[in-house]
């Protein structure tokens, strides 16, 4: 992005708002470290977090770059079909996690996805999973860093590469100073700051374009046309010309493989729920997260759509078919902020965005750090050293990962719509993982060899589809190529796993207790609500039912 074009005119008061946020978050981190207060312990020791806090942290951990900038970019480019990422691509998977997977996770006491792999399939699958996870985290950290850099760039006008390095340095300080204590508070706080910033932005934007009707008229008249006003069949988004294939691609590729893969196996997300105080609270966590998730698109996708018809540069860019000018779809939200928000509210909006990207990148870096130091380095490279040694490795690797993220940020900067890039990454890493995970959980015969071979074949076939689409052998516009890659990776993983299982020896059943559904005592999986938790509004099935009805209703309203 050219640094002369987009400039947010922040004043002193905006920086005061920004500074006060980080003072609060870092202050809590420092206090928590200095004086061990029992109340701080209480919050951070995980086991006692109430479900509304873990639920908000759950959805906030995902409310980063992907969600805010990526989805408003998608909204500007594709319009309402973007809603699928929330209503088809997230909520059903969150409910599935609550009903089917969470009792199993919480009951079996597996604490992380790589740990499940190790216990279920042994070291090779574990190593494959740990390596691909680590790689995915560095690539996604690059996306967060790139967006952080973009904001520093529009605020201060530094060239992008200087902004990237500055943003990386800030994240490094934040991760070391704040630590985990700051992270949990930050996730919950950032949720409220973002809503406080984006809700007025959306309402003001709607007011400006003449309300919902005005927006509809202007979009119909714009290059996107009326099809950007209905969520289905979403041909432009999926890249399929055929309506049926498009719907199938969205439901199977995005709704099933990509989203179930993401939400049910993602280390960062699932661990938010593991921090709950009881089985019942653990199950409620993703469901409580699902409610904000249903409504977040209104304050993320709609501003993107408004930007596409009301911001001069954006209108021009879209009219040219997404080329020319000095803006990209990723700038939609920032452009709208520049055009609408007065100083003061602008500061709040900048704070919300910075907080969320920083938290997002910090989460990627610390997840990478954990997996690298313990799952890779300690398990396979240098074994049996004292704890301090691995802590030191962790510190060094945090710096290495941050530097690596600067390079992956450069890759991310090459995409005009970051969602395209992220969906590609998810199809490589999450789709095969989900296949192996679900098969291994429900099929006790599946062997250790099948575990890692399935993952390798699944990821390779997704990459193969990606290469075919890059070299124009398959021509799919939009995000259809990722949906296809995810679907192929999933099917290939399942087929190969089944075939390999047929010719290799399964693990003895005694080693699979607690790891495979049919071999786990039912008592470990059930939710027993007693005392405070016995009230009707804390019933998971009831909450799931309400969320299910809402998601169907929203799909009908915006059909």
């Amino acid at each position: 992005m050219d640094s002369d074009v987009l400039r947010l005119d922040a004043s002193a008061i905006d920086y005061v708002i920004l500074a006060s946020y980080f003072a609060v978050v870092l202050g809590i981190g420092v206090l928590a470290r200095r004086q061990v207060s029992s109340s701080i312990d209480f919050f951070l020791s995980g086991r006692s977090l109430p479900a509304w806090v873990t639920g908000l942290a759950f959805v906030s951990a995902n409310l980063g770059a992907i969600e805010i900038m990526g989805m408003s970019a998608n909204g500007a480019q594709y319009g309402l079909p973007t809603m699928h990422y929330f209503w088809i691509g997230a909520v059903p998977a969150m409910l599935f996690l609550a009903v089917v997977m969470m009792p199993f996770y919480y009951g079996s006491k597996v604490r992380s996805v790589p740990e499940f792999m190790l216990r279920r399939f042994g070291p090779t699958a574990h190593l494959v999973n740990a390596l691909s996870f680590a790689l995915a985290q560095v690539l996604i950290a690059g996306v967060n860093l790139y967006l952080l850099g973009t904001i520093v760039n529009v605020l201060l006008g530094w060239p992008l590469w200087v902004s990237l390095i500055a943003a990386a340095a800030i994240v490094l300080v934040y991760t070391t100073l704040g630590g985990l204590s700051a992270a949990i508070y930050n996730e919950v706080l950032q949720f409220f700051v973002i809503v406080a910033a984006l809700l007025p932005l959306t309402l003001a934007g709607l007011h400006k374009v003449g309300g919902w009707e005005g927006l509809k008229d202007q979009i119909t008249a714009s290059p996107g046309g009326a099809e950007q006003l209905s969520a289905w069949p979403g041909n432009e988004l999926s890249g399929f010309d055929n309506d049926f294939l498009s719907v199938f691609g969205i439901i199977f590729g995005l709704g099933f493989v990509l989203s179930f893969g993401y939400w049910t196996t993602n280390f960062v997300e699932v661990q938010r729920a593991m921090a709950s105080k009881s089985m019942s609270a653990a199950r409620r966590t993703p469901v409580i997260g699902a409610f904000p998730k249903l409504f977040i698109p209104f304050i993320v996708v709609i501003p993107g759509m408004i930007a596409a018809v009301s911001v001069q540069e954006m209108v021009q860019y879209k009219a040219n078919g997404g080329t020319g000018g000095n803006v990209t779809y990723n700038d939609a939200l920032l452009l709208l902020m520049r055009d609408l928000l007065p100083n003061g509210l602008l500061g709040l909006a900048i704070t919300g965005l910075l907080a969320s990207f920083m938290a997002g990148m910090a989460a990627n870096i610390s997840a990478f750090n954990t997996v690298f130091s313990y799952d890779i380095w300690q398990t396979y490279v240098v074994k049996d050293r004292p704890d301090e040694y691995y802590l030191k490795v962790g510190r060094v690797i945090t710096i290495v990962a941050t530097i690596a993220a600067i390079f992956t940020a450069v890759i991310a900067s090459g995409y005009s719509n970051l969602m395209d890039y992220l969906q590609q990454l998810f199809s490589f890493f999450n789709a095969p993982l989900f296949a192996t995970f679900i098969l291994g959980m429900f099929w006790k015969r599946m062997t250790a060899t099948a575990g890692w071979v399935g993952l390798v074949v699944g990821t390779s076939s997704a990459i193969f589809i990606f290469i075919l689409s890059e070299t124009d052998v398959i021509s799919l516009q939009g995000q259809g190529a990722s949906f296809l890659a995810a679907g192929v990776a999933f099917v290939a993983d399942i087929v190969i796993s089944v075939l390999v299982t047929m010719v290799t020896k399964p693990k003895p059943e005694s080693e699979l207790r607690g790891l495979v559904y049919s071999l786990t005592p039912k008592a470990d999986l059930s939710e027993n609500r007693t005392g405070d938790e016995a009230v009707w509004y804390r019933s998971t099935p009831m909450l799931v039912g309400v969320a299910g009805v809402l998601v169907v209703a929203l799909n009908i309203i915006f059909f």
Binding site: I13, S38, F43, A196
Partner: protein, 92 residues
């Protein structure tokens, strides 16, 4: 650090570390800042930009109401935490 577990757990309010206090406090501060900005420091061009609406004032009212609700919640239902917590007396 830990004493021997007692039959009745001693508790105290979480006070400033209650996440609701922090949320309410921060939103309240932002509400006040935006209200001051909206009343005295938002110029005509900024109001024009947003189609004649003074966004700072409107948002500040929302923030202050939200902060009041959060702090009232803390006041009415204070969070009790064990004074000295130890693994052997976790509430599960």
């Amino acid at each position: 650090m830990a004493e021997t577990p007692e039959p009745t757990e001693k508790t105290t309010t979480a006070g400033a570390f209650d996440i609701r206090t922090i949320i309410g406090g921060l939103m309240g501060i932002y509400g006040v800042i935006l209200l001051v900005m909206g009343l005295w420091f938002t110029d005509a061009s900024e109001i024009d930009r947003a189609d004649g609406v003074n966004l700072n004032t409107r948002v500040s009212i929302g923030l202050l109401v939200f902060a009041a609700v959060m702090l009232a919640w803390v006041f009415l239902r204070p969070l009790r935490v064990p004074v000295e917590q130890d693994d052997s007396e976790r509430p599960e």
